[in-house]
């Protein structure tokens, strides 16, 4: 029930938008989002409602830590 899926916005109409993943499209409520939503954005969709616009730039620090983990452990072996 707490499963939310990242889906791509393909259309926006007032408080609702159409989101798509692997060819499946759904209507989703965006009335509670704080950000402006544009076509191409990725939203976290839960039970027909977007709970967050994904801020993908924020992932860079995590991906860097993953690289460091991989490099660190492979250099020790």
């Amino acid at each position: 029930m707490c499963l939310a899926i990242p889906m791509k916005v393909v259309n926006v109409l007032d408080d609702f938008c159409t989101v798509e993943l692997n060819g499946v499209s759904k209507t989703c409520f965006i009335g509670f989002l704080e950000d402006k939503i544009d076509i191409g954005d990725f939203l976290l969709v839960h039970s027909g409602m977007a709970i967050k616009k994904l801020n993908l730039e924020e992932s860079e620090a995590i991906l860097k830590e993953i690289s460091l983990l991989i490099e660190g452990e492979s250099s020790e072996s």
Binding site: M1, F32, H46, G48, N55, L56, I70
Partner: protein, 367 residues
């Protein structure tokens, strides 16, 4: 950047191997994942066995259907037995036994039971089927609660009269506090729920710092999980207490303030029954008095103390707080199975018993 990078097979394999090396000198570190979706994903990706015996994953009370108490379900049965109402629910709730009979059984007998994907769809059902009184069952944590808020607000704006709401929504901050206070937190670190945190923000869980253990907010893709586990292990090794976020593309410290305001505008926190934990102070959400006309408890005068039959032998309550594993329950895989679930932990898609049944050692995917 495409979010699919967090499920890139090659990157996941390399990260998994590196993390296995990092933890190979540790013994029996217990990490509690609060969220039922984390439980299933940890099994599905093969991480549960991959880190044994160094790390053990303990499932927590984060399956909303599972913690919906017998007391809550007795209210649904009361409605069906005493009123000619239709029930609208999420699909996850359909097979949960209500004193031996599920919503699916009621539907087979011809009682109106509608399944929705979104709480907002309940308004459409009430609009399209005006000859019937409908009750929507609000189940879930702060991820689904704003959806019920939106549904109530839309129903009120449209002047819908044949729809009311029975709120079983639960407050996650209250249960973490209860787990820690009662000494029921059988863990060295906590994997916090990524999607609840997207709504409430990670500051919401600061209370956990008082219990002297670290916690990390974690996402749900395989790379998210590995990054979160790595962060949590680092904190445990450094004896750090506090909260960190390994899911920053979705979660910040504040959460979604519009959603939090919607919850505040429509609900009050109340003491509520949690299966396995009993009554938790401020552990539930009830509709504000302003929305009395939409509150099924008031509309149908549901009595406060309904008789409850606890399932004999079912250890769902102990599974929910990590006290035992499903395999320790005498009913698991003997009497209790997905085809014949005795307790909700075997019914819900997020249930720990279902996870053990479905992703048992022989079924885990490690490729």
């Amino acid at each position: 950047m495409n979010p699919d990078i967090f499920k890139d097979k090659e990157l996941v394999k390399k990260t998994l191997n590196a993390l296995k090396k990092k933890v190979e000198k540790l013994e029996n570190i217990r990490l509690m994942e609060f969220c039922g979706t984390h439980t299933h994903n940890i099994f599905q990706y093969g991480f549960r066995n991959a880190f044994l015996p160094h790390i053990r994953f303990i499932a927590g009370p984060g399956c909303p259907v599972c913690v919906t108490s017998e007391e809550d379900l007795a209210e649904v049965k009361f409605l069906f037995d005493n009123y000619d109402v239709g029930i609208i629910a999420y699909g996850d709730l359909l097979k949960v036994p209500l004193k031996g009979k599920s919503l699916l059984d009621y539907r087979a007998e011809g009682r109106p039971v509608e399944v929705v994907y979104s709480a907002i769809d309940a308004v459409k059902i009430a609009e399209n089927k005006k000859d019937k009184e409908w009750v929507f069952l609000g189940v879930g944590f702060e991820t689904t609660t704003p959806g019920t808020s939106a549904s109530i607000m839309i129903a009120e704006k449209k002047g819908i009269k044949n729809l009311s709401y029975l709120s079983f929504h639960k407050n996650t901050k209250a249960v973490l506090k209860a787990l820690g206070t009662l000494g029921n937190l059988y863990a060295d670190g906590v994997i916090l729920p990524g999607h609840v945190s997207a709504v409430v923000g990670y500051n919401y869980f600061r209370e956990i710092e008082k219990f002297g253990i670290p916690a990390v907010v974690v996402g749900f893709e395989p790379l998210d999980l590995l990054a979160g586990i790595s962060e949590l292990i680092d904190m445990i090794l450094k004896k750090e207490v506090g909260i960190k976020c390994a899911y920053p593309r979705a979660v910040n410290e504040r959460g979604n303030e519009k959603m939090l305001r919607a919850i505040e505008d429509t609900f009050d926190t109340i003491d509520a029954y949690w299966r396995g934990l009993g009554i938790i102070e401020n552990g539930g959400y009830e509709l504000k008095n302003f929305y009395d006309g939409f509150n099924a408890r008031k509309k149908y005068s549901i009595p406060k103390e309904l008789p409850v039959d606890k399932e004999k032998g079912c250890r769902c309550g102990d599974v929910l707080i990590g006290r035992i594993e499903p395999t320790d329950c005498p009913l698991f895989k003997k009497v209790c199975s997905p085809a014949n679930p005795i307790g909700p932990c075997m019914v819900s898609y997020e249930g720990t018993c279902l996870a053990y049944y479905k992703w048992g050692v022989e079924n885990q995917r490690l490729d």
